[in-house]
Amino acid sequence: MSQDDHREGIGGMINPRRYGIERVAYLLMRLSGLGLLAYFIGHIYETSNILRGQVGWDDFMDLISGTEGHIIMSIVIAMCVFHTVNGVRVMLGHGGMGVGKPARPDYPYDPASQNYKHKIGIYSAIVLAAVAMMYGLAVMFGE
């Protein structure tokens, strides 16, 4: 088998099952980042409708204020909260906080940086995203 046969490409990079919750966080961070960038571009376009005057603005608001619009918005809220909380965790990790001290690698070679502090950070980000999503839905559908 040649070396190229072992290459999994993007599929291998995004496979969330092999490397634990850290890989899931890595994948979610990128997916939420891309989703938020897409939403941001859409939001800039959406708000530019105010230049069309009241009729143009109201037409566009009618388009995005339905059930589908609220559901998309709640997903955006979840992505935003996850990206923020996980981003703070990543920043702290890059700054050397919570990654453990350098030590000789001994069997079973557990990476010091993949410890319970960062796992708690990742799970917290997921839980907070879910809570924020529920709150967002309550606000938007509560009216």
């Binding site: 993007i10 990079m13 990128r30 980042g33 891309l34 938020l36 960038l37 941001f40 571009i41 800039i44 376009y45 708000t47 530019s48 105010i50 230049l51 005057g53 009241q54 603005w57 109201d58 608001m61 204020s65 935003c80 923020t84 981003g87 920043m91 890059h94 606000v139 938007m140 009216e143």
Partner: protein, 114 residues
Amino acid sequence: MRESTVMKIHYGTALAAVALVAVHILMRLTMGYAESLEYENVLANYKFVPYAIMLEIILVLLAVHGFNGLRVILLELKQGRLYEKSVSYGCLIGMIGLIAYGSRTIIMTNMGIV
């Protein structure tokens, strides 16, 4: 620019954006969500100069952070001199375009050219 400097900018824009976006969202909750999105209320937001300045800052921060994030993701997928230059300049052009388009909305609405 060194990648370490770019990442400092990436993290700095992220932290600043979190604070300002929180204010932006809280403005939606000062009254009912649907009411805050009514034409008159949105127009009043844009005409309030400190708020318009804050919107402009958020626009720049998020455009820089977002397009640099996109650049990092694309550079993780593939490498190569031409590819990396294309991605970097493409993201820079996208960022400038988005800032220009968003600024146009903020400035024209603030000046009453609606």
